[in-house]
């Protein structure tokens, strides 16, 4: 648990907005972590399945964020979440809706819970918590924007190259099926692209 909390502190201190003035707020957040969950590879993070509005921090391992692809009538990968990331059930937290996404452990994972109630209370007591929240979401937004530009690259191999260059940690931990879903191409297209360029993932 000690290492997990250190990992959470490190995350906050890595945000662009961080200065030592935030330390008191960060300690207040760390002190309110009230649950640690360990899941084995392949398990669904059931704690987020109901209409949960808490904030979750992935300390180690990788998570797959899955959604129902209505065009293919199947569950598909939406995103891969790397260690030292905050994630939430966006449908419930932002839209008060039943969750449309669920999280699956791609490897063994450890996650920490910071409850929404604790967030509200700390928000009242430490106004700087708002800036931490904004800075954290800014990073998520930047990642989403960058990934969108990758998803618009017309050549499959350019998308692969983007993942290898800008998301090396994810690239190293993805099998080909996951990689194909992450870059929005079919498995056949991915294999064709590798064959064409004589480049292989591993």
């Amino acid at each position: 648990m000690k290492n997990d909390l250190r990992s959470l502190r490190d995350y906050f201190q890595s945000l662009p907005v961080y200065t030592p003035a935030f330390d008191e707020t960060i300690e207040a957040v760390v002190a309110r972590i009230d649950m640690r969950v360990v899941k084995k590879k392949g398990e669904v993070i059931s704690e987020l399945s109901p209409e949960n509005k808490d904030f979750w921090f992935l300390t180690n391992g990788f998570l797959k964020e899955m959604y129902r692809n209505s065009y293919q009538q199947s569950d598909a990968l939406f995103n891969v979440i790397p260690p030292r990331s905050i994630f939430v059930n966006e449908d419930s937290l932002f839209l008060d809706k039943h969750p449309q996404h669920y999280y699956l452990a791609q490897t063994d994972v450890t996650i920490l819970r910071f409850s929404q109630q604790a967030f509200e209370e700390i928000f009242q007591q430490f106004p700087l918590a708002q800036l931490l929240y904004v800075s954290g979401t800014a990073e998520i937004q930047k990642n989403r924007r960058a990934r969108l530009t990758m998803l618009r690259m017309p050549k499959t191999i350019d998308r692969v190259h983007w993942v290898r260059t800008y998301r090396p940690e994810l690239f190293r931990n993805m099998d080909r099926i996951t990689l194909a879903q992450y870059i929005g191409v079919s498995r056949a297209s991915l294999y064709r692209a590798f064959e064409k360029t004589n480049k292989f993932q591993y």
Partner: protein
Amino acid sequence: MTDRIDHDAVYNVLFANLRISSVEDSYKLREFSRRFVFKTYAPGDELWSLQSTEGDLQVILTGAFGEYLKEQDEYHLLRFYRKGKCTFSEDLLIYSQPAETIAKCLVEGVVASIPRAQILHMSEGNDFGPRLISGLINLSMTEYRHTTYEMLQTSVESRIKAALEQFPELLNVIPRKELADYLGISRASLFRTLKMFGDEK
């Protein structure tokens, strides 16, 4: 009279897009929406540019607009905004950073806007401002999520269908070359698929 109606329209868009639950916030939102000013934009006019220094919160009352990301001297269409949508540069308005995108008018329209400074001024001494900002962040995250759904479709047909679901007027307002770039497909694939859709009808 016209102004009152327009301010009502601003309120309605904000109310629909931001999750306002309390009567008190709803009252504040109505007061907030009265501070917006209106401007008509012609195709090509910019809502914000890379040189903009301060962000506005904008509400699209009519027309259509596109947001572009600049990469290696080329602009790529990132998102669309149409009637009933809020638009803003997240970099400028929320994160106080230089804009990495530009937004320009695609179809003539009227936009109501309020500068960031005025939002901050209105927020002094109350928690409406932070709640508004949180609402805008949530809105922006959700919009990005929807655009990502479009782009995760592996077949050209599904990509086009998903994009049309988000923005039904797409085919009428975006030149085909730009649309192909937006969808991450070749122009030939776009024309082939659109022809197939036409034949199906």
